[in-house]
């Protein structure tokens, strides 16, 4: 009833969703964005070895994925690298953000620019430079036990993820009321205590967002990882790439679907944590 009365009402100036051409436009955008992903997921359930014709429904390919030791190792490697580099990027990025927000020091604009550089430098350049760095300047030993052998990749991932964290945290810090920190000190807290008790809680939503971004960036990364990984340190994207070189089997689809699921779930968790925080931190 309410719906019908509403639809008879005159269209408001901002009721874009009731505008036919715009509705079609939105539908097209969604199709272009999600149709390829939907196909990928759908064909992971395809019985046929070939990814072209639908022959029947099966879970077999997921079985194959879990039976493929190399793929599982690559997957575990990817998650480990992502976890380690996220941890380091969040700490480093937050500290960089606080330093840039709080202090004045010589060459601050230069430092500011250099920190953002990994965001804009083409990935391929980063990759090549990392390759040169780890093979010539600081060769990373290859015979280390797991997970130390992932060190080179982790360092490479930190170097391109922490600037993103820094940018996000710094934006959040702009809304910080300095009087909160002064109040903490006035009430008896030293520098460090005030930082932990007041500044960190304020940064929390940004830290979560930054962590989420760092994690997905690391999990996804192919180009830079490709240049820094060795035969024993294969990550998931690199492994998938090598599998695709022979043929795109539904096994690749199934593995990709799993990766997508992991990423989506993590993002949802992160957004949920952040949403609560943002609502709470609304006024300060």
């Amino acid at each position: 009833m309410t719906l019908r009365t509403r639809s008879r009402e005159a269209k408001g100036p901002l009721d874009y969703a009731r505008n036919w051409p715009l509705r079609i436009w939105i539908a097209l955008v969604l199709v272009f964005l999600y149709a390829p992903l939907a196909c990928l997921v759908a064909f992971s359930f395809n019985e046929s070895r070939r990814n072209i014709v639908w022959t029947g429904f099966t879970f077999d390919w997921y079985g194959t994925v879990f039976g493929d030791d190399e793929l599982i190792t690559a997957f575990v490697n990817s998650l480990t690298i992502a976890a380690l580099s996220t941890l380091a990027s969040v700490v480093l990025g937050a500290l960089v953000a606080v330093a840039l927000w709080r202090f004045r020091f010589p060459f601050k604009p230069v430092f500011d620019g250099l920190v953002a550089l990994p965001i804009v430098v083409p990935e391929i350049c980063m990759g090549v430079s990392m390759l040169v760095f780890f093979s010539r300047v600081v060769p990373w030993p290859t015979d280390l036990p797991w997970p130390l052998d992932l060190g080179a990749i982790v360092i490479a991932h930190i170097s391109f993820s922490f600037p993103f964290v820094a940018v996000i945290v710094r934006a959040r810090l702009a809304s910080f009321n300095r009087e909160l920190e002064e109040a903490a000190k006035d009430l008896g807290a030293g520098e460090f205590r005030a930082f932990i008790d007041v500044l960190v809680p304020h940064m929390r939503p940004a830290l979560i967002a930054g962590a989420l971004l760092a994690f997905t960036l690391s999990l996804d990364d192919f180009v830079i990882t490709f240049f820094t990984s060795g035969p024993d340190t294969v990550t998931f994207p690199v492994k998938v790439y090598s599998m695709v070189r022979f043929s795109v089997t539904p096994e690749v689809n199934a593995a990709s679907t799993l990766l997508m699921a992991v990423t989506v779930v993590l993002t949802l968790i992160g957004l949920k944590m952040q949403g609560k925080d943002v609502a709470k931190m609304g006024n300060g």
Partner: protein
């Protein structure tokens, strides 16, 4: 000053680059006093307060609290707590945790802490809100949290930075009385910064008026109003009509000032210790000016001082009805505008004055203040 001196400020100066925010201020504040730092925005009063709190370090001079030199002591080591202008209530902590924070940092045992927190919350009447988060409180309640949080630490001095500026008019008035009451109850020395003269006059025992970093006058509210030191003070506190003139007669028991803006000289019933012939300013408060209708040229009879003084003919230019009183702007013959304030003591009073009416303005010989600068 009644009690012993608690805060002694000696030649305090604060410079930010070339800008002098606080310029050689010396001041003493007694124990248990309610002291107000008053001044227009940017006069340095907040900087002075922040130096008391330890949030700014002085460029020169000393601050002694209870005899101990605090000039270089960091804020967390001072027997001083502050209520910030934004209240600065920690948004991620409940009311109770906010109030307990200072005690927790100090390592007060949990049991004692609990009792003190509830005492403090009772003092500001927030017992029922202990578990709330700050975003579930009104502005007034948040201020109470800030107040309880500072007082729970039993400071020697409580600093308040524009405590009432963020509240709406009604609440502000109620809070004025309540703050004064709380101060009475806890007996802590309060130092308040405000740009609102009403606030300072209503609450403080003594006020310091600052301008451009310089202390202009330190006095009780009534002295500040009735006996200002200079034109800035006279003009800042309340409103005043200032007439520039020349000191024509200066005897121990009276003085006469010739003002070009007025038809008759101003007669004052006390002597002025200024060089005869010097330029002085006579200030007369709007409520101390008498206004009667003017018909023809006949001058009204005046009691007291000699006739031919303290009288001016004018015409009402404008009036502003403010409910309890009306402010008239009266234009004198020379064009000078004089403000006159009449209380509306009766409703539907036989019509007072209308714009355009011709009036006589007069005042008592005791009313003008003579200012030398």
């Amino acid at each position: 000053m009644t009690a012993k001196t608690l805060i002694r400020i000696e030649g305090l100066t604060k410079r930010f680059g070339d800008f002098v925010a606080v310029d050689d201020v010396s001041l003493e504040i007694g124990e248990g006093e309610f002291f107000a730092l008053l001044g227009p925005s940017g006069c340095g009063k907040t900087t002075l307060l922040r130096m008391l709190a330890g949030l700014e370090m002085p460029s020169e001079g000393r601050i002694l609290i209870d005899g101990a030199d605090m000039s270089r002591v960091p804020p967390n080591k001072r027997p001083v707590n502050m209520v910030f202008q934004s209240y600065a209530v920690f948004p991620h902590m409940s009311v109770k945790d906010n109030v307990a924070y200072g005690l927790k940092v100090d390592g007060v045992p949990a049991k004692q802490r609990e009792a003190r927190v509830y005492d403090a919350l009772a003092l500001v009447k927030l017992e029922d809100f202990a578990e709330r988060k700050p975003d579930q409180l009104s502005g007034g309640q948040r201020q109470r949290v800030a107040l309880a949080r500072a007082l729970v630490k039993r400071p020697k001095v409580l600093l308040l930075d524009e405590p009432l500026s963020a509240l709406d008019a009604k609440l502000r008035e109620a809070m004025r009385f309540e703050l004064a009451q709380i101060q009475d109850k806890v007996g802590v020395t309060f130092v308040m910064v405000t740009h609102d003269q009403d606030e300072a006059l209503a609450m403080a025992g003594r006020c310091a008026l600052m301008q451009k970093g310089v202390l202009q006058q330190v006095a009780t509210p009534s002295d500040l109003y009735e006996y200002p030191n200079n034109r800035f003070v006279a003009d800042f506190i309340g409103s005043i009509n200032l007439f520039e003139g020349r000191l024509a007669v200066d005897e121990p028991d009276h003085a006469v000032i010739q003002c070009p803006a007025l038809d008759t000289p101003i007669y004052v019933d006390h002597g002025v210790t200024g060089a005869s012939g010097a330029t002085v300013w006579a200030g007369i408060r709007p409520e101390k000016i008498d206004m009667v209708p003017r018909h023809g040229e006949a001058r009204p009879d005046r009691d007291g001082a000699s006739a031919g003084h303290n009288l001016a003919a004018g015409q009402i230019r404008n009036s502003a009805y403010l409910g309890s009183e009306t402010v008239y702007e009266v234009a004198l013959a020379g064009g000078t505008i004089v403000k006159v304030l009449r209380s509306n003591t009766r409703r539907y009073e036989e019509r007072g004055f209308d714009d355009g009416d011709a009036v006589w303005l007069s005042w008592h010989a005791r009313s003008p203040v003579v200012l030398l600068s």
